[in-house]
């Protein structure tokens, strides 16, 4: 994405509030936010390519792009499996991206971006919705649309930051410990 005109650039220097209309609840709190030490162009391009989502969203195993707006998401986490189609609901180039599960109006995610001052990278905010109809979200989706959506968003944002800055998400899953033998019995 090229720096086009000055209007465009000034728009990148304000983080747009994520519109509440996409979510089934109002929140007076700010969404979870991180600073990623990468240019806004790079962060936007990464997030707009839905196949990158599994690289940082916990429990999301794969995403297959169907067309410019739609993609197929496969969640696999701790023995639970869930699949759905997702579509981009709103998009403002470089600054706002809203997506949601097709036919499940309570599963919405959104990010908004802002060029940080001092050439320090990009502020990224994320908001995800809870599923009120089920009372509380359980299983695989809890990791993503979690029971506490702000925490889930923050965890996924930190994973996004680590992936973009270092090329990997930190993990200790699969390391040895003194519990294994006991668990086997």
């Amino acid at each position: 994405m090229a720096k086009t005109d000055s209007l465009r650039e000034s728009e990148l220097q304000v983080r747009k509030p994520i519109p509440s209309k996409y979510f089934n609840e109002d929140s007076s709190f700010h969404p979870a936010s991180v600073l990623i030490s990468k240019p806004i162009e790079e962060v936007w391009a990464f997030l707009r390519d839905m196949t990158n989502m599994p690289k940082f969203i916990r429990g999301l195993a794969s995403v297959q792009v169907l067309d410019d707006k739609r993609s197929h998401w496969v969640f696999d986490h701790q023995g639970q499996h869930h699949e759905n189609d997702s579509e981009i609901i709103a998009e403002e180039m470089g600054s706002l991206l809203v997506w949601g599960a097709v036919g499940e109006k309570n599963q919405v995610g959104a990010v908004s971006l802002e060029r940080a001052p001092g050439g320090r990278g990009t502020f990224v905010s994320m908001r995800t919705s809870t599923d009120h109809e089920k009372g509380k979200v359980t299983g695989v989706l809890a990791w993503y649309f979690g029971g506490d959506p702000k925490s889930a968003s923050y965890i996924n944002l930190r994973r996004l930051k680590a992936y973009m800055e270092t090329g990997e998400v930190p993990t200790v899953e699969g390391q040895p410990n003194g519990r294994e033998q006991e668990l086997k019995h």
């Binding site: 030490s37 923050y154 270092t166 993990t171 200790v172 390391q175 040895p176 410990n177 003194g178 033998q181």
Partner: protein, 389 residues
Amino acid sequence: MKALCWEGKHNVKMKEVAQPRILNPSDAIIKVTTAAICGSDLHLYDGYIPSMEKGDILGHETMGEIVEVGPNVKRVKVGDKIVIPFDIACGHCSHCGDEEYSLCENTNPNAALGDTLYDHGGAALFGYSHIYGGYAGGQAEYIRVPHVDTNSLVVPQGIEDEKVLFLSDIFPTGYMAAVNANIKPGDTVAVWGCGPVGQMVIKSCFMLGAERVIAIDEYEGRLNLARQSGAIGINFADVEGILDELNYLTGGVGPDSCIDAVGLEAHGHTVTATIDRVKAAAGLATDRPDALRQAIQACKKGGTVSIPGVYGGLLDKIPFGAAFGKALTLKMGQTHTQKYMKPLLDRIMNDEIDPSFVITHRVDITKGPEMYDKFHKQKDDVFKVVIKM
């Protein structure tokens, strides 16, 4: 492989566990040759650090030989002999860019938890609870090291392990504490605590130009080691008041710098299990900051208080008015170990210091559980334990 596992308060066991494997592309697997038990491990042993889980592998002072590397490893290679810093840094974030490695943002898989406790949590640590990332430690035959290009110091083949092992923690910790103390030639520095960290602080103060170092503790064995490094030792159990003593020794001026190498995890650290409790406990003290109080009170006007000792919670009755009135500078934090490893290796190679002078016990891993017990009970005899694999 064999590993020392935390099984609960005052309960360390040697267990047979699986070998670590590469989990991320910048990882390496190290065959451990020597590891040490640290004063900080005692705080785990005594059950003061929340979020330990039964079976967690202990240890954060570790060195060994690289036996396997992931596809993104560029700087080090199989066969290199390395010392591993106790804090885990990514080498890419803005803090790593500023050489503030212990403030790294990208190594703690439980960063959200760390942020809840400390508002903005720091780097992950090896073998030091799940708040600090839950990484398996190095008191084991093998250890996995993430971002190994950043988290390693390659040492010359053939050098004795004991001479360089403490580059993993206590030597850089003592040195950074002395750097943080803003020492100028001719200065007098007072050091609270003559544990292994305090001993490294004392040596480092002299290296950086201090003329007089006053060391404070209650164990004569530890004070004697400090005296051998050239410090004046004061046994706080033997004097009327430590502030009176320091005033006398400095002609009423106070030490130019005061260094707290005690910390208070060992004493009043009552941050027990839950994180929300810490947040809820606003107004309640969690730590027992006697040494810190004295350091602030004793310090000269315009002086510096440097704090390598670890604090974990909300501190009570800190003489902040004195700190303000005297326009003190306070510096603190976990050590940016990676920043100091190489220059301090050079000092070791130039024979300016041999950090192995703190070692009192050398054992194999089967004796590990027994040494934890002794270290906990006999502070005056058991000073620094190294485990040979």
